[in-house]
Symmetry: C3
Subunit: 398 residues, 3 copies
């Protein structure tokens, strides 16, 4: 039974015929649809192997490096889980302890931490125009040193959330949707509402909503992006979503009505974010270290937010969805009204109803990251995958 | 010779017939006597295997999570040693870096750090009423998610020191006593003085003395608890010690005379702790963040302490013990008069005489923790233990 | 082809017939020339094995402890790489989180972190008279506990930079030189200029220049040490370099002219350091915690430095070297004029020209550290090395 499961999955994997060896994994829209499908398929295989007590160990030794320039629990642990499961030890580059700054130094440090590394996972989502470009700088530095023979292997850079995209999140979300609807084909025509929601906080990154609209539009979903005027996303990502929706014969539209977006939706994803324009101003002020102006901007932003406290995912909103029973999604942690804050993104009742689904959604992330590492580090991922399954090593001596 | 050693130990382990799979290890008094005996027996087997260069590796991959809400060197390293020896990587949840607070968030985070974890080791000993309940909250959260199929395995929560008990310490101490007196049967009737001692510090947890009186009374020891009036322990733990002493036909008594307690003692364990009442007040003030009142309380407590500077373990006191030669124990680090402080728990002379014993006592902790993990994570610990011994893998390639 | 490479290297290793089991690795000048040669030879073998995808895993389980009392990226990661490659997990003793101070406490902590440890890597380079003696204290403590049977194995202490020497750096540099000139025999007669260089920073350790002059003089090189008057190194290390240069029939001289030192040099190593006398004063003031005097000293030192801004490695200087083409070396990070500072140790042009060489120089460090661990931890390093090569385990499942 299990054999058959893996046999079919491996066959599907073979048919995708992807080769991502020595690449980075920064934006989902830079990857082909086959590469995206291979990632979530492999994540699914890994999840099932782990559930069945079979070791995913692929590396005898080797290191994963994590660089977190913003707080993280879920993604940080998911990266450690993924590395550990594949046999890699994780060491974190703590930039306060080490001699790191910008430009030349970034490139030099990138090489110095790569002599025996297989992967560099980076979260850098605070400043518009900074995170993604930092990741590319690191990727280019290790590529150059690998080409020159200074590095014996070329670690892949994995985006653990940038200013632009959050692929480990969006691919976990995609995995959940595929499981929920039965197959990726079944996503076609399903209505997804990616909506802004009120939160009493400030400066939340744009990468989650951007990641969602630019990924789910590739699967023929009817994606609606909803936000109050002023909470625009980056225009180039919105354009990308439009292009994808046409290619996949799905649809993509923007509305400023939460209710309108959620009506007859199969999936709702209500999540707070900061307006792109304010994030840009914030980045400029941070560069100038203008603390006073930053404080003022924060106040303005919070005040602006407070005009939209009715953008909450509650019972009434959920009743508008398909059969009053849409799947509620969130990347966690959510701002839950009356629990983690006075008034937030979602009511306790709605959140509690979907808690198992939310945890299930989160449970894909370690395996998505493991798949990203595996695909970018194996010369022939199919051969290694088949060996792994054939070896069938028990993870626990028993 | 070695074979025979392990043969007999494994036989004894089989006879204890314990099954602690998927349980937490929080308070020794929640565990049966067989479970306690299985823990120290397994620790002993592990220690001997390690000494003989045999690998204890039981997990191909997997993680141990450590959460330290108070300083630690000994226990922190012991936890890492234990995990590493069994094949687990350790990652620490640093609550300042991650998005953790209380209530709902604790439960959510507990699940998020558990997707591929085998064990969660927690030290939380600062606030009365907080540490043990936090550990239970974590345990319940992972149990619930395991029951619902969100987690593929159920990590055990191991108490690395709570407000109530310090089982990794007390079981190491028990291991030392069993070794010192030759067998656990030989503990019967031995006099142990668990005594308060002066220290120029404030707010030391109650968990060590509580752990000692509630564990050693189960082995028929004559346990005396001695402290200056006002330095009471938690009443429910004292009651537990009384019950155990009756069950084991040992004895338990409280005295306010250090000399009286140590007279003809076979073992002395002089150790400073804060009065329960002050710890309770402190917890309340901490919750209110009343810094001024906290400062005042600290001053009062230190002043109260200073009235009992004569509660020191010195040559004169040791001469009162059985043949002037009782075993001196401490969980380390000790406040040594004239070394780590002006006037403390023990004189340099006494401490130096017993240094080898103290280090030996401490050397059990990594193996006690490994035994706790093994017992709570193996479906059939006997089968896995026998495999481990039969495999006889050298820890070092040689 | 590969077989032959390893065959010859292993043969050379056998002929060196070294036994460093259970020793520390603190100062290169305490090691015999055979031990030095065995270290860089083994590092070379490890580097080649790694390049060929062969696992260096020697330990099934076990820990490396790192203690960093000063910032580090390169050496910290190199230590982690080395431990991971050999199969050891690294745990860092963070002295702010744990209960560590001085004297008795150092010795106690050393034992407590050693119950299952194989190696303790220490960086402690800030105070004259402190780093090396701290390392010895740790080494003596673990030796004592090993002798008494408290520790089942005796971890080696590895100097990751002390106040006196920086052996992991100097041996990496030696490895680079041997590769650059084709053999260690070819180093004979080559001119190396270890020179001071201007930097707008203060308090840089003496251990790099000291390590270089005391190591390269053992290989018959013509070593010139150049610095402005007042920037003397420790007299005993200078004496050691003089002795070695005589033994190896090389030469050693001191000059106060940068140009003079670099004329016809085959290798230049321009690097800033603080004057020994100022470092000594600084240490005294730090002990007294005299912040005011420390600030004043820093100002004086920076002012003194600024008189020597012309001590820069630039095009004109490089033109004086042999064929205008000497090898430029640096331990990194360098203070690059116009890049990492306004005016520094080296111009961007010179630095860029040698970047590949500098990274290549740095790439030896992980393998040098791995060799140090292997040599001090294997009872019979030759036997284990031969097994490792014969096993020929692929590092990645493929």
């Amino acid at each position: 039974m299990l054999d058959k499961f893996f046999h079919n999955k491996v066959l599907a994997f073979r048919n995708l015929a992807v080769n991502m060896y020595n690449q980075d994994y920064l934006l989902t829209w830079e990857k082909s649809l086959n590469e995206i499908n291979a990632t979530i398929l492999l994540a699914d295989i890994f999840k099932e192997l782990h559930k069945n007590g079979i070791s995913l160990k692929t590396f005898e030794t080797g290191l994963g490096i994590s660089i977190f320039r913003d707080k993280s629990t879920r993604t940080r642990f998911s990266f450690v889980f993924a590395c550990d499961a594949l046999g890699l030890d994780v060491v974190s580059l703590d930039e306060e302890k080490s001699q790191v700054s910008h430009g030349e130094t970034v490139r030099e440090t990138a090489v110095m931490i790569s002599f025996l590394s297989e992967v560099i996972g980076i979260r850098d989502d605070m400043y518009i125009g900074a995170g993604d470009s930092y990741m590319r700088e690191v990727g280019q530095a290790v590529q150059k040193s690998y080409d020159k023979g200074v590095l014996a292997q070329r670690p892949s850079v994995i985006n653990l959330q940038s200013d632009i995209d959050h692929p480990t999140q969006s691919l976990s979300d995609l995995s959940k949707l595929v499981d929920y609807f039965g197959s990726s084909e079944n996503l076609k025509g399903k209505k997804l509402a990616m909506t802004w929601a009120y939160s009493p906080s400030y400066g939340k990154p744009l990468s989650v909503p951007q990641g969602i609209i630019a990924l789910m539009t590739r699967f023929g979903m009817d994606v609606t992006l909803a936000y109050p005027e002023g909470y625009e996303l980056m225009p180039e990502v919105v354009r990308q979503a439009e292009i994808f929706s046409k290619e996949s014969t799905g649809s993509f539209r923007i509305t400023h009505s939460l209710e309108n977006a959620c009506k007859e939706a199969d999936v709702v994803y209500p999540k707070s974010w900061a307006p792109f324009e304010i994030m840009k101003q914030r980045t400029e002020l941070l560069k100038k270290k203008d603390v006073k102006a930053l404080d003022k901007l924060e106040q303005e932003c919070l005040q602006q937010n407070s005009r939209f406290m009715n953008w909450e995912c509650n019972k009434n909103l959920m009743e508008l969805t398909r059969n009053g029973n849409a799947l509620y999604m969130h990347c966690l942690p959510a701002d839950i009204s009356g629990v983690s804050c006075k008034q937030g993104e979602v009511t306790e009742k709605v959140f509690e109803k979907y808690k198992k689904d939310l945890y299930h959604q989160a449970s894909y992330k370690p395996f998505v990251i493991a798949a990203m590492i595996f695909l970018t580090r194996m010369k022939d991922p199919l051969v290694t995958l088949e060996k792994l399954i054939r070896k069938n090593t028990s993870r626990i001596l028993s």
